[in-house]
């Protein structure tokens, strides 16, 4: 039996979140399961961030994933969001919803057949 294909993609390795940020389109048609990790490389205690998984039919037009609610978190540590039934494209949109300082984010996308 063939082993399951997998890929870990470092989608961002240190992006400053000033207002809203969307990751670049990523093709995931081959994968059956996915998990995002968002790590606050430079934490911003007191700052709150909303994280939304988005999907697309073509990598151009995007909507929120209907079954993954936006995750709101303080901008410290690391959060993880699993996602299934995502079609062929994935991206992650992070929005600063409260606080003055800007955290720096490392974002991983873990994919598996």
């Amino acid at each position: 039996m063939a082993m399951r294909q997998s890929q870990s993609a470092v989608i961002e390795r240190g992006v400053d979140l000033d207002t809203v940020h969307s990751t670049d389109p990523f093709e995931v048609a081959w994968a059956g399961e996915a998990r995002w990790f968002v790590q606050f490389l430079r934490p911003a205690p007191g700052c709150r961030v909303s994280i939304q998984v988005q999907i697309s039919p073509d990598g151009i037009s995007w909507i929120d994933h209907e079954s993954v609610a936006a995750r709101e978190t303080e901008a410290v540590g690391m959060v993880s969001i699993p996602v299934a039934q995502f079609g062929h494209w994935l991206r992650l949109t992070t929005s600063k919803v409260a606080g003055e300082s800007s955290p720096s984010l490392r974002i991983y996308l873990e994919l598996k057949e």
Binding site: A2, Q5, Q7, A9, V10, I11, R13, G14, D24, P25, F26, E27, A29, W30, L41, P57, D58, G59, I60, S61, H88, W89, S104
Partner: protein
């Protein structure tokens, strides 16, 4: 049977076996196939080119132009107008996708070492595209640089900068890069469509550490100064971009070098075979340790328009004469 007869028979057998193999017969590898990467079953070790970080992995310790080469994607070539285009063989290819940022390069690298010296070759079936655009006014979106939409030509073709095939090799402590780049268009969308090569070695992270340079994000990591590039020929290379950004026609590429002489030999692009023996391969002046027998190949795509540029690779074969 003489030795010559046996050698000829072995070559003929090898050719017959390959031509009966539906996956390999489209390639023309040297005697020993080191790798055969069909992206229907994974990335086969192709990975984002990463820079050299410090002892605790700080992002700031990486050269700015080396921080963000983008992870390769397994693509089914899925487009807004036709859906899944698929690959030349099977459904999936490897896609290198730039950011929508002028100057940004997406780079995938494969890391091996050499168990001999002599001829070394990389072959690929590839296609290059820009990201389709579905916005803006007709006036804004129907022209870019040299191309105005006329239902044949499409402005997206002028939005693709370049793609590059290159090595990173080291023998007897001497490190060097064989580099060939298809320059499609400049930042203003003027079509160039010529093969080019650099006459200097690639700037290194160590040089930045020593204060020799400090390139900005989006600088051309292969050779940042445009004056360090030469065209192989003044003749324009005709290709099959095929009009719009969502039609993929696979092109054959073969790049042959010689590691025993640290030199270029030949480049084949579809039916054009170009003699590269006069194309220099500038080595680094300093000797390297910890890189002996380094055998890396990379492909990159670079946007100069600021529109995302994509390089799709259906399959790749690396072979050696040793």
């Amino acid at each position: 049977m003489t030795t010559t007869d046996i050698s000829g028979l072995a070559d003929a057998l090898r050719g017959a076996l390959r031509s009966s193999d539906g996956r390999l017969s489209k390639f023309n590898p040297l005697r020993r196939i080191l790798t055969f990467d069909d992206f229907n079953d994974g990335l086969h070790g192709w990975v984002e080119l990463g820079g050299n970080y410090n002892g605790r992995g700080d992002l700031e310790s990486l050269d700015r132009h080396f921080r963000d080469m983008r992870p390769p994607q397994l693509s089914n070539a899925n487009f807004f107008d036709v859906g899944t285009h698929g690959a030349m063989s099977g459904t999936y290819s490897m896609k290198l996708a730039t950011r929508a940022h002028r100057g940004h390069s997406a780079t995938g690298i494969r890391r091996l070492t050499m168990s001999g010296r002599g001829l070394l070759q990389i072959e690929a079936y590839l296609a290059w595209k820009t990201e389709a655009n579905l916005s803006g006014t007709e006036q804004e979106s129907n022209s870019f640089g040299d191309i105005t939409w006329d239902a044949n030509s499409h402005p997206s073709e002028a939005q693709f900068g370049s793609f590059t095939v290159a090595t990173d090799l080291c023998t007897e402590g001497v490190r060097y890069h064989n580099v060939m780049r298809f320059v499609n268009a400049d930042a203003d969308g003027h079509l160039i469509q010529k093969w080019a090569y650099p006459v200097v070695p690639e700037p290194t992270p160590h040089e930045r550490h020593e204060g020799v340079h400090d390139y900005e994000y989006g600088a051309d990591f292969t050779a940042p100064d445009p004056n360090d590039w030469r065209y192989l020929s003044d003749d324009r290379v005709e290709t099959c971009y095929n009009e719009v950004p969502t039609k993929i026609n696979w092109h054959y590429l073969r790049f042959l070098i010689d590691t025993s002489t640290r030199s270029n030999v030949e480049l084949q692009f579809n039916n054009d075979v170009m003699d590269l023996r006069g194309v220099p391969v500038p080595p680094y002046a300093d000797k390297y340790e910890s890189l002996e027998n380094l055998l890396n190949f990379y492909f990159s795509a670079r946007t100069v328009s600021g529109v995302r540029n994509f390089l799709f690779l259906d399959s790749v074969v690396i072979s050696a004469g040793w």
